[in-house]
C-alpha cells in the first residue's frame, strides 16, 4: 500500500501532466508562427551574407518537428498514469468501475482544453478508432477466447447476436419514428426525421459493445456461461451492425427501400459474416504455417502473430467485411498450432504484449469518449434523448426474454431468469456506437448532432448506471461466480474420457449428434492439419500429454519464482507423496546396496542406515506434480533446521569420503536446500538445479519436445540411463557402474548434467556458470 506522501506525489505528477498535455495540444493551433519565422530566417540567410549575422542558436525549440508522436505519447502516458492512480485509491476502485472513472478523466481533460481556449483535437476520429484502438482489444479477446464454452453455446450466442440485434434495431428505430411523428399540431425539429434515418440510428444504438462489456464484466467475475454469452454476442453482432449501417446509410438518401434491397441485404449479411470468418481463418492458417519454421529465429515469433492478425483485420475492412469476426477467427484458428510451435518465452511475450496493448487501448478509448463528449457537437432534445434511452432498455429486456423462451427449447442447460436478467442488464453500449455516429455525413443527415447527443447519453447511462450497479446486483441475486480452481490433470483426463464416452454412446444410438461431428473434426485435425502446421514431433503429441507437460512447466516456473521455496506459498501444504500411493515393493535401500557392494560389512551397514534414513525423509518430502505445492520439505522447518541438516550432510560427506570414493554422490544430499530433484519416475522431463549453497536455485527445464537436434539424443541417453533404476526413485543417487575407478563416475555424471543444462533452445539464465563446484564447501 502506498503511503500518503507517495500518493500525493503521484497525484501531483498527474496534475502536472494534465497541464502539460493541454499546452502542446493548444500549441497545435499555433505552430505556423515559429515555422514561418524559421523559414524566414533560412530565406534571409540564403539571400545574402551582407545581412547581420544572427548568433548561432545553441538551444532552440522546434515543437512542430515532433508534434504528432509527442502528443500521442503524451496521451498514452496520461492513460497509463490514470490507470496507476486509480489503484492507489483503494475504496474507489471497488465501487466505481474503471471505465466510469476514465470517462470522468476524459471529461476533465476535455474541459481543461476547452478552458485553455484551444481546440479539442478530434480524438475519436473514426479512422483512428477503427484502425488503431479497436484491433488490439479484439485480438486479445479472440486469441484468448475459451473455445470450448464458445462452441458449446454457439447457437445461443448467434441467436442473441443476429436476431436480438435485428429486433433491437427495428424496435428502437420504428418506435422512435412513431414517437417523433406525434404531436402534429406542434411541429418541431423532430418532424424532419424520416423513417430510414431513424432505423439507421436504431441500428447504431442497438449493438452491444465488446469494449464496454469486457471492461465491466472483467471486474465482476461472473460465471463462464454468462460471460461467454454476453461477450460472444458483443463480438458476433458486428456483422449485423455493419450490414444494417451500410444498408440504411446507402438508402437513407434515396428515401425508400424495396424488397430487392432487403433481399440483397440478407445476402450481404451472409457474405459479410462468412467472408470475415474465412479471411480470418486463412490468415490464421498462414500464421500457423509460418510459425512452423521459426525454430531458429525465435525472437520474431510474436511479430508474426501480431502482423498476420492485423492484416486479417485490414483485409476484411478493405472488402467491407466484418473486421471483428475476421480477427476473432484468425486468433482462434492460429492459437493451438502456434502455441505448439513457439518457445515458451515467445508465448509469454505474446500474452503480455496483447494484454498491454488492449489495456492501453481500452483506457484511451474511454478517456477519448470523455473528451469527445466535451467537444460535442451537441444538440440536446429532451424528447428524443429520453425516449431513446427508455426504448433501448425496453427493447433489450423484451428481446432477451423472448429469445430465451425460444432458445430454452433447444438447450440442455436452460437459462434461468437470473441468467436472463444478467444478459439483459449486461447489454452495454460503447465507443463503437459513437464512432459509427461520428462517421455519418452531415449533409445526408442534418440531425446528426442530435443523434450524437443521444448516443452519448445512452452510452453514459449504460456505462455509469448499469456498470456501477451490476456488481451489487450480482451479489444480491447470488449469481454463480467464476470457478477459481485451476485446471487439474484429473479434470483434463475426465473431460477427454467424457468426450469419448458421449461420442461412443451417440454412435450406439445411431444419432449423429454434436459429439459425433466434434470427434470427426478432431480426428481430421489430428490426421492432416496438425501434420502440416506443427513442426517436428509435437504434431503427434496427444492433447493429454501436451496438457501434462504444460502443467509441469508451470510448476517448475512457480518453484523458481517463489525463490526456491524460501517464501512458501500459502496454499494448503499437503504432505502426500509418491511413496504413499505406490504399493510397497522393494526396500528403498536398494541403490545404496548396489553402490556399496565392495565395502566391508560394518561400514556398509552404517552407510546403509544413514542413506536409508535420509532417503526416506527425502521421499516423504518430495512431491511430484501436485497442484498445491512443489517443494522439498527443508524449507518448511525454517532456517534453523536447515543448518542442522547441513551439519548432518557434512558428517555424511566425511564418512563417504573415507571410503575411498567408491560412492560419489554427485547429487547434493537430500535435505540440502540447494538440491531438490523433484522428479517423476522415468519422466522425459528432468529438473535439475545448480548446486549453489545459499542462493536461489535455478531450475533449467528441458522440454520433452526436441527443439534442437542435440537435445533429442541427449534425452534418449538420459532416459536410457534412468531406465536402469527402480520405478519410484525419489532421489537420484547415481551409483557408480560397478568396478569403475574413483573419479570416473562423478565425472561422467557431471558431464551428463553439463550437457543437459546446455541443451535448451532458449539461452538459460546462467549458461556459463561454473558447474564443477563441489556442492558443499
Amino acid at each position: 500500500r502506498a503511503s500518503l506522501p507517495e500518493r500525493g506525489l503521484l497525484l501531483l505528477m498527474v496534475l502536472v501532466f494534465l497541464e502539460g498535455s493541454v499546452l502542446p495540444l493548444g500549441a497545435a493551433s499555433s505552430p505556423d508562427v515559429t515555422h514561418q519565422a524559421n523559414s524566414d530566417n533560412h530565406i534571409v540567410k540564403e539571400a545574402g551574407h551582407n545581412f547581420t549575422k544572427k548568433p548561432f542558436p545553441v538551444l532552440s525549440l522546434d515543437y512542430h518537428h515532433i508534434q504528432a508522436p509527442f502528443e500521442i505519447s503524451l496521451w498514452v502516458l496520461l492513460a497509463s498514469l490514470m490507470k496507476l492512480g486509480f489503484h492507489l485509491i483503494p475504496r474507489l476502485s471497488g465501487i466505481v468501475p474503471e471505465s466510469c472513472l476514465l470517462i470522468v478523466v476524459g471529461l476533465l481533460v476535455g474541459g481543461l482544453i476547452k478552458l485553455a481556449g484551444e481546440q479539442v483535437p478530434p480524438v475519436l476520429d473514426s479512422r483512428l478508432f477503427f484502425l488503431c484502438l479497436l484491433p488490439p482489444i479484439i485480438l486479445d479477446a479472440g486469441y484468448f477466447l475459451p473455445i470450448r464454452p464458445f462452441m458449446e453455446n454457439l447457437g445461443t450466442i448467434l441467436m442473441f447476436a443476429v436476431v436480438g440485434t435485428l429486433w433491437n434495431a427495428f424496435f428502437v428505430g420504428g418506435l422512435l419514428y412513431a414517437v417523433c411523428q406525434i404531436q402534429p399540431g406542434n411541429p418541431s425539429i423532430l418532424h424532419q426525421l424520416e423513417l430510414l434515418p431513424c432505423l439507421l440510428f436504431g441500428s447504431i444504438i442497438s449493438a452491444v459493445d465488446p469494449v464496454a462489456v469486457l471492461a465491466v464484466f472483467e471486474e465482476i467475475h461472473i460465471n463462464e456461461l454468462l460471460h461467454i454469452l454476453v461477450f460472444g454476442e458483443s463480438l458476433l453482432n458486428d456483422a449485423v451492425t455493419v450490414v444494417l449501417y451500410h444498408l440504411f446509410e446507402e438508402y437513407a438518401g434515396v428515401g425508400s427501400v424495396t424488397v430487392m434491397d432487403v433481399f440483397l441485404g440478407i445476402i450481404s449479411f451472409l457474405v459479410v459474416a462468412v467472408g470475415g470468418v474465412l479471411v480470418g481463418a486463412i490468415y490464421g492458417i498462414l500464421a500457423a504455417f509460418t510459425s512452423r519454421f521459426t525454430s531458429h529465429t525465435r525472437v520474431i515469433e510474436p511479430l508474426f502473430v501480431f502482423v498476420y492478425s492485423y492484416m486479417a483485420y485490414l483485409s476484411a475492412e478493405m472488402f467491407h467485411l466484418s473486421g471483428i469476426m475476421s480477427l476473432i477467427a484468425c486468433g482462434a484458428v492460429m492459437r493451438p498450432y502456434v502455441e505448439a510451435n513457439i518457445s515458451h518465452k515467445s508465448h509469454t511475450t505474446i500474452k503480455y504484449f496483447l494484454k498491454m496493448w488492449s489495456s492501453v487501448s481500452e483506457t484511451l478509448i474511454f478517456i477519448f469518449l470523455g473528451v469527445a463528449t466535451v467537444e460535442g457537437p451537441h444538440n440536446w432534445n429532451w424528447t428524443f434523448v429520453t425516449v431513446t434511452v427508455i426504448l433501448c432498455l425496453v427493447a433489450r429486456v423484451i428481446g432477451v426474454v423472448g429469445l430465451t423462451y425460444v432458445i430454452n427449447k433447444f438447450r440442455i442447460v436452460k437459462l434461468t431468469t437470473k441468467d436472463q436478467f444478467i444478459v439483459a442488464y449486461g447489454g452495454l453500449r460503447g465507443a463503437i456506437a459513437f464512432s459509427l455516429g461520428f462517421l455519418l455525413n452531415k449533409d445526408h443527415f442534418p440531425l446528426r448532432d442530435m443523434f450524437l447527443t443521444a448516443i452519448i447519453t445512452v452510452i453514459f447511462f449504460t456505462v455509469f448506471v448499469q456498470g456501477m450497479t451490476i456488481k451489487p446486483l450480482v451479489e444480491l441475486l447470488a449469481v454463480k461466480k467464476k470457478q477459481e480452481a485451476k485446471r487439474s490433470i484429473n479434470e483434463e483426463i475426465h473431460t477427454q474420457f467424457l468426450d469419448h464416452l458421449l461420442t461412443g454412446i451417440e454412435d450406439i444410438c445411431g444419432h449423429y449428434g454434436h459429439h459425433h461431428w466434434k470427434d470427426k473434426l478432431n480426428r481430421f485435425n489430428k490426421k492432416y492439419v496438425k501434420k502440416c502446421l506443427i513442426a517436428g514431433e509435437r504434431s503427434k503429441e496427444p492433447q493429454l500429454i501436451a496438457f501434462y507437460h504444460k502443467m509441469e512447466m508451470k510448476q517448475a516456473i512457480e518453484l523458481v519464482e517463489s525463490g526456491g521455496g524460501v517464501k512458501l506459498p500459502s496454499a494448503m501444504p499437503s504432505a502426500v507423496s509418491m511413496q504413499n500411493i505406490q504399493p510397497k515393493k522393494l526396500p528403498p535401500a536398494k541403490p545404496a546396496e548396489r553402490a556399496l557392494s565392495n565395502l566391508p560389512k560394518g561400514r556398509e551397514e552404517e552407510i546403509r542406515k544413514i542413506l536409508r534414513s535420509n532417503l526416506q525423509r527425502t521421499r516423504q518430502r518430495l512431491r511430484s506434480y501436485n497442484r498445491h505445492t512443489l517443494l522439498a520439505d527443508p524449507y518448511e522447518d525454517g532456517l534453523g533446521d536447515l543448518l542442522i541438516k547441513k551439519q548432518k550432510m557434512i558428517e555424511l560427506e566425511r564418512k563417504i569420503k573415507d571410503m575411498n570414493n567408491y560412492l560419489t554422490v554427485p547429487a547434493a544430499p537430500p535435505d540440502s536446500p540447494t538440491m531438490c530433484r523433484a522428479r517423476l519416475a522415468s519422466d522425459p522431463q528432468a529438473y535439475s538445479m545448480k548446486p549453489e549453497p545459499d542462493s536461489v536455485p535455478t531450475i533449467q527445464v528441458d522440454l520433452a519436445s526436441p527443439q534442437s537436434p542435440d537435445s533429442v539424443n541427449l534425452m534418449d541417453e538420459f532416459r536410457r540411463a534412468e531406465q536402469q533404476h527402480e520405478e519410484d526413485q525419489g532421489l537420484m543417487m547415481k551409483p557408480p557402474s560397478g568396478e569403475s575407478g574413483p573419479k570416473k563416475p562423478g565425472e561422467e555424471d557431471g558431464s551428463r548434467e553439463h550437457k543437459l543444462m546446455r541443451c535448451l533452445s532458449d539461452p538459460g539464465p546462467s549458461a556459463d556458470e561454473d558447474e564443477d563446484e563441489p556442492f558443499l564447501p
Binding site: L501, L502, D507, I508, G510, H511, R523
Partner: protein, 216 residues
C-alpha cells in the same frame, strides 16, 4: 402417434417410461435401434456392439461396451457382469445420459449428479472392489492415449501417478510416510469431480432422433 399405436405393448412402455424417465417417443426410437443392433433378436450381446463401425475408432470402446453389461448399472444393486442384455437393461443404461429436467430441487439435482458419477466410477473400477486403484487408473490413461502412435508407456504412467497424487492430496490432506493410499473410493471421486458440473455435461440429446437418421 400413428407409428406408436402399431408398436407392441404400450403398457410395457408405460413401465419403462416410469422406470427410466424417457418419453414414449424416445423409447420407441431406442427400441427400433435396439432391434437394428440385435438383428431383431430379443437380446444384445457384446459382438453386436463390435459391429458398429464408428465405435471401432473409439479409444475406450471396450469400457463403453463393458458398461452395458455391468450389472451395477442396472439400478438393481447387482454386481458382476452378464453376457447378454434385453431392451430394458439397454434402456436403463441409456437413461444415465438423460438430461436433467429444468425444474429440479437441489436434492434432485444432487442425486442426478451422484447417479452419473456412479456410472463413471463403475466404468473405471473394473474389478468391482469399490475403489479405483493406481493400476486401474493407469490402465485408464493408457487407453485414452492408445490412439496416438507414439505411446510412451512411461509418460502414461507418470500422468496417472500425478493424477492419483492429486486425488490423494485432495481427499486425504496429510499422510504419514508409511501410510498407503489404497485407491479412490466413490466419496473421493465425488469430491474430486466436484466442480465438473457433470449433470450438464454428461447428456445426449435424445430429443430429436428419428429413424431416418439411424444408419449403421
Amino acid at each position: 402417434m400413428g407409428a406408436l399405436q402399431s408398436s407392441p405393448g404400450q403398457h410395457e412402455y408405460g413401465d419403462l417410461a416410469e422406470k427410466t424417465g424417457f418419453s414414449f417417443r424416445q423409447i420407441g426410437v431406442l427400441h427400433t435401434r435396439f432391434k437394428q443392433l440385435s438383428h431383431n433378436e430379443e437380446t444384445l450381446q457384446r459382438d453386436h456392439f463390435n459391429e458398429i463401425p464408428d465405435l471401432a475408432c473409439n479409444p475406450i470402446r471396450a469400457q463403453i461396451v463393458g458398461a452395458f453389461f455391468d450389472r451395477r448399472n442396472f439400478r438393481e444393486n447387482g454386481e458382476g457382469t452378464v453376457q447378454e442384455i434385453g431392451f430394458e437393461e439397454f434402456l436403463v443404461v441409456m437413461s444415465h445420459f438423460r438430461p436433467p429436467s429444468l425444474h429440479m430441487t437441489q436434492e434432485q439435482r444432487e442425486s442426478v449428479r451422484r447417479e452419473k458419477l456412479r456410472f463413471l466410477f463403475n466404468m473405471h473400477d473394473t474389478d468391482n472392489d469399490g475403489t479405483i486403484t493406481l493400476e486401474e487408473y493407469r490402465h485408464l490413461v493408457e487407453e485414452l492415449l492408445s490412439l496416438s502412435e507414439t505411446l510412451e508407456k512411461n509418460t502414461a504412467k507418470s500422468i496417472a501417478d500425478a493424477a492419483m497424487l492429486e486425488v490423494a492430496s485432495i481427499s486425504m490432506g496429510h499422510m504419514e510416510p508409511d501410510e498407503f493410499y489404497e485407491g479412490i473410493t466413490f466419496e473421493h471421486f465425488l469430491k474430486l469431480l466436484n466442480g465438473f458440473e457433470i449433470e450438464s455435461r454428461m447428456n445426449i440429446r435424445f430429443l430429436r432422433m428419428d429413424t431416418t437418421t439411424l444408419c449403421k
